[in-house]
């Protein structure tokens, strides 16, 4: 396969793999969670699991924004889009995510004005271009995208543009990690920390995981070598009975994060008392809502939102997979009723969802770099 030929520094990869085998105590079983969906994608894409000894297990975390969004929020957002002269704008990732009565794409096919935008700034531009319509941006994402939504709202307010609003579903990563650590059926030894979220929030917010929970965190880049190095760093700490926050992705992530981005978020957002996560349930102070001072641009304050709550299809076990209790293929629907072409649960929709990643790269068994190294 092409990506195998393009793989950089195979000798360094082999070395990192060797180092991992040396560091891993054969009498121990290590469970390491990669928090970010981008990491999950990379791990499957490159077959990194094949480079790890059997007692070093990677658990896929909740860091896929599309996957953790409960169906009720999609239904709520789409119900607003039924109003006349209304444009529903969202990232392409959202388009195939099923709601109770269909995905945004299916609504579009039935006549709802649904548009793909690649930036919240472009949703604002749509509003400028269509003064006769109301444009609602359906915002999703962790701290990687939240600052961009914040800045877009600041620009809308400064311009006094009143045909624009945001339906805010932004969530924050720290409470999700806390919920997973509090979950009784979960035992983890350490975390591969999210790379791009940390560009915004920096490395300090993970301190409590090391200090209070005694578990190491290594913020990691997305290249195969980055991820393997991060696992080496975690195993080294575990061998020395240490628990610290380390930054493997120094070339992009500043320890203090991006202050301008944090200021924009603080200006526009406040914490919701609680928010529902698919698979994890209600988590207190885990999501962002738009402040009163931006009420005219907050779709939830401006319009009447039904507040739909939908339980996931009983047979689908998205929650267990999301928490890392089940592997994707252990779900009853995996690969039969639920595929990337006909997703039942959101984990199958996004390329960062562990089910889609598992289906695309594991289920279909591509050549992994581990196999390629022996060629």
């Amino acid at each position: 396969m092409k990506f195998v030929d393009e793989f950089r520094a195979p000798e360094l990869i082999a070395k990192a793999g060797e180092e991992i085998r040396k560091l891993a105590d054969p009498d121990r079983h290590y469970r390491i969670m990669e928090v970010c969906g981008g990491h999950t994608h990379a791990i499957y894409r490159f077959g990194l699991k094949d480079l790890l000894p059997h007692n070093v297990e990677l658990i896929h975390g909740p860091g896929c924004p599309v996957c953790v969004l409960p169906m009720g929020r999609i239904d709520d957002g789409l119900s607003l889009a039924a109003q006349p002269d209304f444009i529903f704008a969202a990232f392409g990732d959202m388009m195939r995510v099923p709601g109770t009565h269909g995905s945004p794409l299916e609504y579009k096919a039935r006549g709802t004005d649904v548009r793909i935008v690649y930036s919240p700034a472009d949703a604002l531009k749509l509003a400028r271009n269509h003064p006769e319509k109301h444009v609602m941006f359906f915002a999703i994402g962790f701290e990687t995208t939240a600052p961009s939504t914040a800045l877009t709202l600041m620009r809308a307010k400064a311009e006094g543009l009143n045909n624009f609003s945001v339906f805010c579903n932004h969530v924050t990563i720290i409470p999700a990690i806390r919920a997973i650590l509090d979950s009784p059926d979960m035992r983890l030894d350490g975390f591969v920390g999210p790379g791009h979220v940390s560009t915004v929030i920096g490395c300090r917010p993970y301190d409590w995981i090391a200090k209070d929970e005694g578990k190491p965190v290594v913020v990691s880049g997305f290249e195969p070598l980055d991820i393997l190095q991060s696992i080496v760093m975690l195993l080294r700490q575990l061998r020395n009975s240490e628990a610290r926050v380390e930054n493997q992705y120094k070339r992009v992530v500043p320890w203090e994060g991006n202050r301008a981005a944090l200021r924009a978020m603080a200006e526009v957002f406040e914490l919701r008392p609680y928010f529902e996560w698919r698979g994890l349930g209600f988590i207190s102070q885990s999501a962002l809502k738009i402040r009163q001072s931006y009420a005219p641009w907050d779709a939830e304050q401006r319009f009447t939102v039904p507040g739909v709550r939908v339980t996931d299809p009983k047979a689908a076990q998205c929650g267990e997979v999301l928490k890392g209790v089940l592997k994707p293929a252990q779900c009853k629907l995996f690969g039969h009723e639920c595929t990337p072409e006909q997703p039942v649960g959101a984990l199958m929709v996004s390329s960062e969802g562990s089910c889609a990643a598992y289906y695309n790269y594991e289920h279909r068994k591509p050549i992994s770099i581990a196999n390629a190294a022996t060629h």
Binding site: E6, G92, T144, F222, R251
Partner: protein, 102 residues
């Protein structure tokens, strides 16, 4: 959405100084520099872009590495499609509401 796309700042917009033209492997689009206002990039600088906003300054070598990572992940085409879409460049005109004569 969570793609980080590397680009080189080509020019700062003369009217909206929070906007810059950025070059991503030959595709040029406007991106927002507002989240880097504490240390604004200048033409020639490399940045990582998330959803149309420059989020961090990086070195040229790291930019090349990031592009390679996207290629290896099979996401390079999606990244370029995203960049091409910035500024609604691909918006299909909605003729039903367009007023031809005022």
């Amino acid at each position: 959405m969570c793609l980080a796309i590397p680009g080189r700042v080509v020019a700062i917009d003369s009217q909206d100084t929070h906007l810059a033209t950025v070059d991503v492997v030959g595709v040029r689009r406007k991106v927002d520099l507002g989240l880097l206002q504490d240390a604004p990039p200048v033409p020639g600088d490399w940045v990582l872009i998330h959803v149309g906003f420059a989020m961090s300054k990086i070195s040229e070598a790291d930019a090349a590495e990031q592009m390679e990572t996207l290629t290896m992940l099979g996401e390079a085409a999606a990244a370029l499609e995203e960049v091409r879409g910035y500024g609604l460049e691909n918006e299909v005109p909605d003729y039903s509401t367009r007023r031809w004569k005022q």
